[in-house]
């Protein structure tokens, strides 16, 4: 068995930025993001892959940050909640929808749900509300009862579709 406490050199790309890290192979991705890179927006809720508070995107797909070691995602493109807002701090349409629908109370699970939704809507922009509910069932929230989370994501998806349609219509009429 390899010595898990021996330090290993790893290169990670997080939110478009490259980092070289000397870390123990047993170090989870979420711990590296939070404690080595200072990206504390991603939270740790259970450390056994159920609650999803640590959800981040690896190559566009939602991944439990507590279930993978950082060394396993070397070379992957990692995205965390910190990447969602614009550089000037203005919130993305998804973040705004969460606020408008009161889809967060304490906010602890929220980054996980945001990244889950960000990954899912990119893959399936035409998702129905029922499909969204099924995906939302991947993560745990203790405050909201989920209804407003589903509504926020559904609302955001609808607005994105409407905006796309408007662009297509504008292109056609131009």
């Amino acid at each position: 068995m390899p010595d898990m406490s021996r330090v290993q050199l790893v290169e990670l790309t997080v939110n478009g930025e490259r980092h070289e890290l000397a870390i123990e192979p047993r170090r989870t991705l979420v711990d590296v993001l939070r404690h080595d890179l200072g990206l504390t927006g991603t939270h740790v809720g259970c450390e056994h892959g159920i609650c999803g508070a640590c959800t981040v995107l690896v190559d566009g797909a939602p991944v439990r940050g507590c279930l993978v070691f950082a060394v396993q995602v070397e070379g992957g493109e990692i995205r965390t909640v910190e990447s969602l807002a614009a550089p000037d701090g203005s919130l993305s349409d998804l973040q705004q929808a969460f606020s408008a629908h009161h889809a967060l109370q304490c906010g602890f699970c929220t980054p996980g749900f945001l990244m889950l939704a960000e990954g899912y809507l990119a893959e399936r922009p035409e998702a129905t509300k029922e499909e969204i509910r099924e995906v939302v069932a991947s993560n745990l929230c203790r405050c909201t009862g989920y209804q407003t989370i589903v509504e926020a994501i559904d609302d955001c998806a609808g607005r994105r579709r409407a905006a796309l349609q408007a662009r297509l219509d504008a292109g056609r009429s131009a």
């Binding site: 406490s5 711990d31 509910r133 989920y146």
Partner: protein, 793 residues
């Protein structure tokens, strides 16, 4: 996107304004306790008991200290800390005080009890260190249920607690109650056992502590609902004056009551930071959170109700036993659940005769603390089952039976001595039933081939417990009042302190709405300060739906006082009598009959601070006002009716909620969207207790639900959408007429769900009274098999 709702007067109160907490939380820029990192910070974890009950014969940490990265390890003997002791002012036959040591000394009383603390350079090394500890126990027979605790000759969890009973109160005992039962047309009985639950904030408990030489202070950043109470206990345990301890609270990932008691781990971590003079962080892992954090709700009821032939309730006779686990929590004590249930059980009904015995028993399980609703989800369930059972016995519609018994004339002083302020008990029931009938659910219920039931829960919820109400519980620490300071700076902006502590409830927004209305300023000019024992005079934190009713009223009162100061200065500067002035609702003071003559708050603050020589005689410099608020009487009662439609699956015994309607009345909602959020989240937790979640132990006292694989927290797949209707019966004595809204959802859901399941089972002759409702029990009932509940009991 839902539009904000505005009340008729267009003021801040009543408007669902964007939450001020949201931008940072959405951007991942909140600051939760585990996000804090201090230079040179060490990481703590605990060596925990592996046995449920036993003597500690040796604690050997020598190998721990050899583990790479480990800096130190301490047992109880190494730290010599005072105990955490919660007291009630009750005679010895009613209450037995017990001490909870910060680290176990010669005795362990539950699996997971902290025995030693290990600190290391990183969390991984701390875990390695914990594994190297060698603790030897002399095992004692464990007590793992309330019935075992009360059995003749049971081993004692605490030597001083005879019959393992920490609290035993017999209350009310209306004269002639036995005759009432003997002569009643109908007597129904409910015996029920409710499952042990975990409040389960998604952020586990945690703390960062460090000694600051410059301030000569032990600084503790901890995820608590009650920072001042943590300060008091910590100062006592480590032997500092309270001024030498500063407790601050960062963003909190929920609490739901679990964080409104003082945890021994936060004390131990701070004590080690003090000892080592280095920052130390402890973050509870989920396994510990599921097995060693404060739990709740495991109760047994045996309750009889007497009715006349028309369905009027004549009496209630109750025996309540709460399994409080190994220790009494601070500051509430093990009395928290039985005293709540005993005092409030008559609920929303006109009960003419009442007798109750309430007991807290101690067992070798993780200790209990408050959890959203505290006992009310349980006794409401019992009382609502009694209503349904009486309806069935008497052949009256269950909604009609409730209608005949609901309190409709207010104020109403009950047999329990509590005075209920006005509410909409009857109106909420009528509307809830109306909605379900209108939507055709009664027709669906009658459809052939489907197993569908409809259930209701009517309840009220005492919110805004003042000192008087808590004093009746005879707690030695009597929460109740709150103090608020409103301070205006030289730019005319406001800093408001509150002793309450938002951990998801949006007080940065809602408290600011209350102040902004009082002083007529934009919300952006009001900053709320909470969770800092150096900056907030004193507070009891947030629990029992007290924040808006009491904390909000204190902030309103302080705002009014500051407004008076502003008017006094402005009147002098404008050369008019103070009575001729008024706040203009736009950040200034004007002459009432001449609106053109006005001074802005900036103008007034400029004088108050920077040109104090212009102040009127006798008015000191500065602009700040402090006010306190307490509820004099019995508090204010929010109320609601929940209506639920369920469908049972004969193949699996599964319970699907097809419709959930909540008609709630919390007086004037400061922020309707936040109220709805509290309702929905509360209902989700209530459903969790009714159908899914249970902390279980085996016969040896080993926890059987140490992960989310066993402790089944419902997801979006299980929790239905909830339709909410609002009624508004303003409270006469809180600012804005607001009543508390934090717990109602959780209180109503178990009763409504259980009643709906039983309604669906009506053809089987089986009635289920225990929660969580086990699938196998429903399956057995639907398939004519012998009820498994008997086997389980």
């Amino acid at each position: 996107m839902s539009e904000p709702h505005f009340r008729r007067d267009g003021t801040w109160v009543g408007a669902s304004v964007p939450r001020r907490e949201d931008p940072r939380l959405l951007a991942g820029r909140g600051r939760f306790v585990d996000d804090i990192s201090l230079p040179g910070m060490l990481h703590a974890q605990f060596v925990r008991s592996t046995v449920a009950h036993g003597g500690v014969t040796s604690v050997d940490l020598s190998e721990v200290r050899e583990v790479p990265g480990v800096v130190a390890a301490f047992s109880a003997a190494d730290l010599d800390l005072g105990d955490i002791t919660a007291l009630l002012d009750r005679p010895p036959h009613e209450f037995v005080p017990t001490d909870m040591p910060v680290l176990a000394r010669d005795r362990v009383r539950f699996v997971g009890e902290p025995v030693a603390i290990v600190v290391a350079q990183d969390p991984y090394a701390a875990e390695d260190g914990v594994e190297a500890a060698v603790v030897e126990y002399e095992e004692l027979p464990p007590v793992v249920s309330d019935t075992a605790a009360l059995a003749e000759g049971a081993p004692l969890v605490h030597a001083e607690a005879h019959a393992n009973t920490l609290v035993d109160v017999s209350l009310f005992a209306t004269e002639g109650i036995d005759d009432v039962f003997a002569q009643a047309d109908c007597v129904v009985r409910v015996r029920t056992k409710t499952g042990r639950q975990n409040a389960l904030p998604l952020e586990t408990r945690g703390v960062v502590a460090d000694w600051d030489d410059r301030d000569e202070q032990l600084r503790v950043q901890t995820t608590t609902q009650v920072p001042h109470q943590v300060r008091t206990v910590l100062a006592r345990c480590v032997g500092l004056r309270e001024q030498q301890v500063r407790v601050t609270v960062p963003d909190m990932g929920g609490g739901f009551g679990q964080k409104c008691v003082v945890g021994r781990e936060e004390i131990a971590t701070a004590a080690v930071a003090l000892r080592l003079r280095r920052p130390v962080k402890w973050i509870e892992d989920r396994r510990d959170a599921l097995t060693a954090a404060f739990l709740a709700r495991e109760q047994r009821y045996d309750v009889r109700a007497a009715f006349d032939a028309e369905g009027h309730i004549l009496g209630l006779d109750a025996d309540v036993v709460c399994d409080m686990g190994a220790y009494s929590c601070y500051p509430f004590t093990a009395g928290i659940e039985p005293l709540m249930a005993s005092a409030e059980m008559p609920s929303v009904y006109k009960v003419p005769a009442y007798r109750v015995r309430g007991r807290a028993v101690t067992t070798n399980k993780a200790p209990t603390g408050p959890y959203r609703g505290v006992s009310r989800p349980q006794y409401v369930m019992v009382v609502e089952r009694l209503m349904e059972r009486a309806a069935r016995e008497l052949g009256i519609d269950p909604v009609e039976v409730r209608r005949r018994n609901l309190i409709t004339v207010f104020p109403y002083t009950g047999i329990n001595g509590i005075t209920y302020d006005p509410g909409s008990y009857r109106e909420s029931l009528d509307l809830c039933e109306h909605v379900l009938r209108d939507e055709g659910w009664y027709d669906v219920r009658a459809e052939q081939g489907r197993v569908i039931g409809i259930g209701y829960a009517c309840f009220s919820e005492r919110t805004g417990y003042g000192s008087g109400a808590f004093a009746q519980r005879r707690m030695q620490v009597v929460p109740g009042f709150d103090i608020s300071e409103v301070r205006m700076d030289t730019s005319g902006s406001l800093v408001v302190t509150t002793g309450t502590l938002s951990h998801g409830q949006s007080h940065e927004t809602t408290m600011a709405q209350i102040v902004a209305d009082r002083l007529g300023v934009d919300l952006s000019r009001v900053k709320i300060v909470q969770g800092d024992t150096d900056r907030v005079t004193y507070g009891f934190g947030s629990f029992a739906s007290r924040s808006i009713t009491i904390g909000g009223s204190a902030a309103a009162a302080a705002s009014v006082k500051l407004g008076d100061q502003l008017r006094e200065i402005a009147a002098h500067l404008l050369g008019v009598d103070v009575d001729a002035t008024e706040l203009d609702g736009a950040g200034g003071v004007r002459v009432r009959d001449d609106h053109g003559r006005r001074l802005s708050y900036e103008d007034i603050a400029d004088v108050a601070y920077l040109r104090a020589h212009l102040l009127p005689k006798g008015v000191g410099p500065g602009l700040s006002a402090t006010a306190s608020f307490d509820v004099g009487g019995d508090g204010t009662f929010s109320n609601a009716t929940h209506g639920v439609v369920v469908e049972l699956d004969p193949g699996t015994g599964g319970v699907e909620i097809l419709r959930y309607v909540c008609v709630e009345d919390c007086g004037v909602a400061i922020h309707p969207q936040v109220v709805e959020g509290q309702c929905r989240g509360g209902i989700a937790q209530g459903i969790a207790g009714a159908l899914f979640e249970q902390v279980t132990y085996d016969d040896a006292g080993q926890p059987q639900s140490p992960s989310f694989m066993e402790y089944k927290v419902p997801t979006a797949a299980e929790i239905p959408d909830v339709e909410i209707h609002h009624l508004e019966t303003p409270c006469a004595f809180t600012a804005n007429g607001a009543k508390g809204a934090g717990e109602g959802g959780t209180i109503g859901a178990p009763a409504a769900v259980l009643n709906a399941v039983n309604d669906a089972l009506r053809a089987t002759g089986v009635e289920l009274d225990d929660t969580p409702i086990a699938r196998e029990t429903v399956h057995a009932a639907l398939n004519g098999q012998p009820a498994l509940e008997d086997a389980r009991a």
